[in-house]
């Protein structure tokens, strides 16, 4: 119970801290930027130029969003309220669509890609690392290790450039043009389109993840387990090898790796955003790129704060699962 309480407090603190930091940073933003944004927004739509009331409304909206209205406390509370209700106003790029609408259209793409590739990378990497530890010193293990050492330090997005170059230009199996998604989501075309869009970004998360990061950490954990007394006891009991791998090795690797996943979620997420952008994948990453380049502050703010909440909550859930898996921390 104490643990759940601590973790929940931490979640709240994390989100509050992130938003407070954002707020403080926005305070440093020169007022001119808002003026600029309103002007540009007008130019994009060409509307309401002559309507001073509409202009004022827009000013009000941005002032409130960036916390520039009222006393400092009012500013802060208003800012928090908007953020926690995920209300980020209207996008400048796609006026008059609200930021929330744009994001909600892109979000499923990102979550699907991330969930799919993180889970696959995690499972594959852990199993391979454990098996490699059993054949420590063999040729196969050495080759895998050499590959892992090469892949491990390279960020996903740098690896993604290599993949882009390889697959899109040298072996043109996949197109890098934005994918056109058919209307009918139950058709074969839909599936193939998804496959087209997802394969490369997923690979660029799975390959370095599975073969690099998770492989190396799982192998290191497995080597430690090999020198544990309980593993040695399993061996002298003459238990079947498969059982040793499953119940003595993998099960004990899993626990610390869940924590590692929860700690690294933020990093993986950031990498994935950039990868999406590189591959023209219709997720949040690409959107973020467009928003940054167009100076669409409301949209950037929306994406950024949503991802902070998303990652923090996902890590929170993982941390709550952990005690359920590990009998040693199950108290009370």
């Amino acid at each position: 119970m104490r643990y759940i309480l601590y973790r929940t407090l931490l979640l709240i603190a994390t989100i509050l801290m992130a938003f407070t930091l954002t707020f403080l940073m926005l305070k440093a933003l020169p007022v001119d930027i808002v003026k600029n944004m309103v002007a540009r927004s007008m130019a994009v739509t060409g509307a309401a130029l002559g309507d001073p009331e509409a202009v004022q409304r827009m000013y009000d909206m941005y002032y409130e969003l960036f916390g520039l209205k009222g006393s400092l406390l009012e500013q802060y509370l208003g800012f928090l309220r908007r953020f926690l209700t995920l209300d980020f106003g209207i996008s400048i790029l796609a006026r008059p669509t609200t930021v929330r609408e744009i994001i909600s259209y892109r979000l499923p793409w990102t979550t699907t890609l991330l969930a799919f590739s993180i889970v696959i990378a995690w499972i594959l990497g852990n199993i391979m690392g454990a098996i490699a530890s059993l054949f420590e010193g063999s040729k196969m293990s050495k080759t895998l290790q050499a590959i892992a050492v090469t892949l491990y330090p390279i960020p996903y997005y740098v690896f993604a450039i290599v993949l882009t170059y390889l697959f899109a230009y040298i072996i043109p199996l996949f197109s890098l043009a934005p994918v056109r998604i058919p209307e009918n989501i139950f058709s074969l075309e839909f599936l193939s389109a998804i496959f087209q869009a997802m394969t490369l970004p997923a690979l660029s998360i799975i390959i370095p993840g599975a073969l690099g990061w998770w492989f190396l950490s799982s192998r290191a954990l497995a080597l430690n387990i090999l020198s544990e007394d309980y593993y040695y006891y399993g061996e002298i009991q003459g238990l079947p090898k498969r059982l040793l791998l499953r119940k003595y090795m993998l099960k004990n690797i899993m626990m610390p790796q869940i924590t590692a996943l929860s700690l690294n979620l933020g990093g993986i997420f950031g990498g994935a955003l950039l990868t999406e952008m590189l591959f023209n994948y219709p997720g949040l990453g690409q959107l973020l790129y467009q928003a940054v380049n167009a100076g669409d502050y409301p949209l950037v703010l929306g994406i950024v704060s949503l991802s902070i909440i998303g990652v923090a909550v996902a890590a929170y859930i993982l941390d709550l699962i952990y005690p359920l898996m590990d009998p040693r921390v199950r108290y009370g």
């Binding site: 104490r2 643990y3 601590y6 921390v329 108290y331």
Partner: protein, 325 residues
């Protein structure tokens, strides 16, 4: 007042709490511990199995862990309320050696640097030549020479030698009280007795009292004058060693003595007599009554509810309801 000044160390109703596990509940590692050591140099054993709180008590007396309740008086002074100048005095007077000689020296430092440090900051000897001479003296006391250790790192000596070095370093400040936490339990049998003999010898020559912490009653009998039996953070029985080990009062002390394996083959038959074992050791710390209640053959309802107070019987002090009738 006169009475008090004759007491070297007095521990009164000491309570030290710890948390069990990372997020777990609190338990009392020490629960109302009382102990007295007279001015006269003596060796007092603190006997208890692993987890009885004996090392915790050592660290409390050494001013490492601050207790939650109770006081520790050293020569009448509360050691947790010392003035700056008195802290140095306390460090000089009270020294310690630990169980694992390899863990008690930093592997990255030369052994001799510990002697230099101690000599300069506690014994107030500044000149290199003089330090050399004093160090040579204390090393001779434990059967070593300065050339044996001068340029050496801890891992270059054997466990037995290193433990003797630790004693020599502690002697440098001419302490009055030495706390020895399981000093021989990690040493091989063939070295043990020589380290114990050093204790006997410096007790006489340097007028040092020892608090000897151990789980081994045989070695404790060999060197001690007094003994206190610790169980789950409480002292169940204390008194002169011959009294306690020859005429044990507390059921736990009796059980310990009966279960001790000996080299005497005539005891074999008796050793195989069936005994009752505890099944829930960890929970005993949390017991509100007598901590021994779940294993005690004489346990009554009263023992579960309330912890018995100390009672003087013959020359010992025992904490058991059996002696309150």
């Amino acid at each position: 007042m006169i009475e008090r000044s004759k007491i070297l160390l007095e521990v009164k109703d000491l309570v030290k709490k710890f948390r069990y596990g990372l997020f777990g509940f609190e338990f009392k590692a020490l629960d109302k511990v009382n102990l007295k050591l007279g001015e006269e140099p003596s060796i007092c054993t603190l006997a208890g199995e692993s987890g009885s709180g004996k090392s915790t008590l050592a660290k409390v007396i050494l001013r490492v862990y601050k207790p939650e309740e109770g006081i520790v008086l050293y020569r009448g002074k509360n050691i947790y309320e010392l003035k700056k100048s008195e802290v140095k005095w306390f460090r000089k007077e009270v020294q310690a050696i630990f169980q694992d000689p390899f863990a008690s020296f930093n592997p990255m430092r030369k052994i001799y640097s510990y002697f230099q440090e101690t000599a300069k900051s506690l014994a107030d000897i500044k000149e290199e030549a003089e330090i050399n001479k004093v160090v040579d003296d204390v090393l001779a006391e434990v059967g070593l020479r300065i050339s044996d250790i001068k340029e050496k790192y801890p891992h270059e000596l054997s466990g037995g030698e290193l433990q003797r070095v630790a004693i020599a370093r502690a002697l440098l400040t001419k302490p009055r009280l030495m706390i020895a936490d399981e000093p021989v339990s990690m040493l091989d049998a063939s070295f043990r007795v020589s380290v114990l003999n050093i204790f006997k010898q410096v007790k006489e020559e340097y007028n040092i009292s020892f608090l000897y912490i151990t789980h081994d009653l045989a070695t404790s009998y060999y060197i001690s004058d007094y003994i206190a039996i610790l169980y789950r953070g409480t002292i169940l029985e204390r008194g002169p060693i011959d009294e306690v080990l020859k005429r044990p009062l507390h059921p736990y002390t009796k059980m310990l003595l009966e279960s001790l394996p000996t080299l005497d083959l005539r005891k074999r038959e008796y050793y195989m007599h069936p005994i009752r074992l505890s099944q829930i050791e960890e929970k005993e710390f949390l017991a509100t009554g007598c901590k021994f209640v779940s294993r005690c053959p004489y346990a009554e309802e009263k023992c579960k509810l309330q912890a018995p107070p100390d009672k003087i019987v013959n020359n010992s002090i025992v904490r058991c309801w059996l002696y309150h009738k």
